[in-house]
């Protein structure tokens, strides 16, 4: 077995600490919790992966950090989000604006969420820079153009004058990546940053991100791509149906997963195969947040469920070395 050297000692300082975060949404069908009692942290210089089935609350967790939960439908009910000692949930709008795109920046899952269709790329890129860094338009323009080159966009000079629709999906995504990395923030929240990128371009982007880490930036990386998690992250958090199911360093999660959900997830990873054929998904679907089963939310898909799982909600148990799991089997 090849073990990865996972960087990061236990005594490193925590940059971000999320404590018992609970976020709810109100819809026509009623109120539900999209994020339920979630706690984790990101240390300085660390790349932490956040994975879990579609709809489990990854993006909502990420958006909470920047306080971008759409209101009034969504609401942070409970919890603290501490960044460098400050509780972000206590800041006023002006202070929060200072944090966004400066100390913390975000690469959104869908480019359309971040790029305005009405303005040219260049203008959108320099806006934030000029706002936070107090530099001239010309300097900002040069920095931005240079970043377009860094994310491998050909004809960067020309592209500064393009509208988003004139770029391919992957190019839009890279523009967003450039915008997020440009200010050299303390924390980058990357929500599926490379879903539209082929592996070779992806590799170039991840080289960039790794370089950035050298210069102190921490990254919270949300992705469903286990290959990327493996190559990039030291530590991984696994969510299932609004709660954390398992957390641990990369080797523990990949080689010694204890939560049945994590195990199933790892089994359904598509392999480079020479024969077309069916994949092995975890049977069943994520329950709707309105009909979570009693007890453990994974119960009706869990091959190992037993009596107790019906009655009680499993809490995260520390297995040592930062490895935690919420399952009665441990």
């Amino acid at each position: 077995m090849i073990q990865k050297n996972s960087p990061g000692l236990n005594n490193e300082k925590k940059l971000l600490e999320i404590d018992k975060l609970t976020v709810s949404f109100e819809t026509d069908e009623g109120v539900f919790k999209a994020v339920d009692d979630v706690s984790f942290h990101v240390k300085n210089n660390e790349i932490v992966g956040l994975i879990g089935e579609s709809g489990c609350g990854k993006s909502v967790t990420a958006l909470s950090i920047l306080r971008l939960i759409p209101s009034p439908a969504g609401r942070i009910e409970k919890g603290r989000i501490i960044l460098g000692g400050k509780d972000l949930l206590k800041l006023d709008i002006r202070e929060m604006k200072q944090i966004r795109g400066n100390a913390v920046s975000m690469i959104f899952q869908e480019p359309a969420a971040a790029l305005s269709p009405l303005h040219k790329i260049g203008r959108q890129m320099i806006e934030g820079l000029m706002l936070h860094k107090n530099i001239s338009k010309k300097t900002a323009w040069n920095i931005a153009e240079n970043w377009l080159k860094k994310v491998s966009i050909p004809d960067a000079g020309e592209r500064m004058y393009s509208y988003p629709y004139q770029l391919s999906g992957g190019m839009q995504q890279r523009v967003m990546i450039a915008m997020a990395l440009m200010p050299a923030p303390d924390l980058v929240i990357a929500d599926e940053p490379t879903t539209a990128l082929d592996v070779t371009t992806q590799a170039q982007i991840f080289e960039l991100i790794k370089e950035l880490r050298q210069s102190h930036t921490s990254i919270l990386l949300i992705t469903h791509d286990m290959g990327i998690i493996w190559e990039m992250c030291g530590r991984v958090i696994v969510m299932y149906a609004s709660r954390i199911a398992e957390e641990g360093n990369i080797n523990d999660i990949f080689f010694k997963p204890v939560h049945p959900y994590t195990r199933g997830l790892l089994k359904s990873v598509p392999k480079l195969s020479t024969e077309a054929g069916r994949l092995m998904p975890i049977p069943g679907f994520v329950p709707s947040p309105f009909n979570y089963p009693s007890g453990c939310y994974f119960r009706d898909r869990c091959p190992q469920a037993f009596d107790r799982c019906k009655k009680e909600k499993p809490q995260l148990v520390d297995l040592g070395n930062g490895h935690k799991a919420a399952c009665f089997l441990v």
């Binding site: 579609s54 709809g55 480019p111 070779t200 290959g227 077309a276 069916r278």
Partner: protein, 327 residues
């Protein structure tokens, strides 16, 4: 049954070119073209899945959009069941549109934010008068097929997660049971487990309705699980094509080699990784000779001057000077 008939391609593309003009200055004169699709020929049989892979920006989406006639090609032919789509008048085209559907790459921009999911997924069914009543039932059935909560049909696109939105867009595009489904990164926003479910759903649909797919994905492992054939694109052109297993086991074009080598595999730590060096060349003024020569590890003198011609061997085709002999 007549074998000839079975083997008639459902789709045949001949020398297709879709170029976007680059406008400059106040007079907005055309200063050149982004040659997004630059002379592509290919075919697709009924029930077949063609995987289309290639670097970001190489023209995959543009090719798909051109097939739907959402972009106007400069040149070329698109024969769908023998008829050139580019010659069709509005009414006939409308007919054909029903039979070719696309799952768009960016669900957020392709779903109307003012329509609820019920109306979105049944829009085609209503428009083509396939259903008159029981819209709810049809919507619920479609939602179930893609693994979404059937009670959420009254919600709007922004009330879903990214992966859920992508599944709404999948539900909409399979609602009409088209003959040809162009899937543009259909599972890229989905976690592996849901991804596997969607791929299996697409395989089932293919088997029960004999659908044909063009499956665009940057993820060659996924493509390898669904495609019969793989075409690799680089800067507007196809550089290699062949049966999926052959291309993956024995990639010939240096770009394909890099693409396959770069796939990160969980649990395996690769020491030697080919990371493509050098800038992605400009699609408006691509390098002379072989478009890949600026980044190719096996570049030769001739590559800088002469564009490689097709070399063919059995079902394989490759455009690279290394393989001059095999044709």
């Amino acid at each position: 049954m007549n074998k000839q008939l079975i083997k008639q391609p459902i789709l045949e593309i001949r020398n297709l070119k879709t170029w976007f003009p680059i406008k400059r200055g106040i007079m907005a004169r055309t200063a050149g073209y982004v040659k997004a699709v630059d002379g592509i020929s290919m075919h697709l049989y009924k029930g077949e899945t063609l995987g289309l892979v290639g670097e970001s920006g190489c023209g995959k989406t543009t090719l798909g959009r051109t097939l739907l006639r959402l972009e106007k090609p400069q040149k070329g032919k698109i024969l769908f069941l023998g008829k050139n789509l580019l010659d069709l008048k509005r009414k006939k085209l409308q007919e054909m549109r029903k039979r070719i559907q696309m799952i768009f790459q960016d669900p957020l921009t392709s779903l109307n934010p003012r329509m609820n999911v019920l109306d979105i997924v049944t829009e085609g069914l209503v428009e083509y008068k396939i259903i008159k009543k029981n819209k709810e039932d049809h919507a619920k059935r479609l939602m179930k097929e893609v693994g979404l909560d059937e009670n959420s049909i009254y919600r709007y696109p922004h009330e879903f997660s990214g992966g859920q939105r992508q599944r709404i867009s999948i539900a909409r595009s399979i609602s009409l049971k088209p003959d040809l489904l162009i899937c543009d990164e259909p599972v890229s926003a989905l976690d592996v487990s849901v991804q596997a479910q969607i791929i299996n759903l697409l395989l089932d649909l293919r088997d029960s309705y004999n659908l044909s797919y063009i499956f665009i994905s940057h993820d060659i492992s996924i493509v390898s699980n669904i495609a019969n054939r793989i075409a690799v694109m680089y800067l507007g052109k196809i550089v290699e094509q062949g049966p999926a297993s052959d291309v993956i086991n024995n990639p010939m074009h240096p770009y394909t080699k890099a693409l396959i080598n770069a796939v990160p595999t969980p649990g395996i730590y690769k020491k030697k990784k080919i990371v493509l060096k050098g800038e992605t060349p400009s699609p408006s003024s691509p390098p002379p000779g072989c478009h890949f020569h600026t980044r190719c590890s096996e570049v030769m003198d001739i590559c800088r001057k002469t564009a490689p011609q097709e070399s063919k061997s059995g079902m394989r085709q490759v455009w690279c000077h290394l393989y001059k002999g095999i044709g």
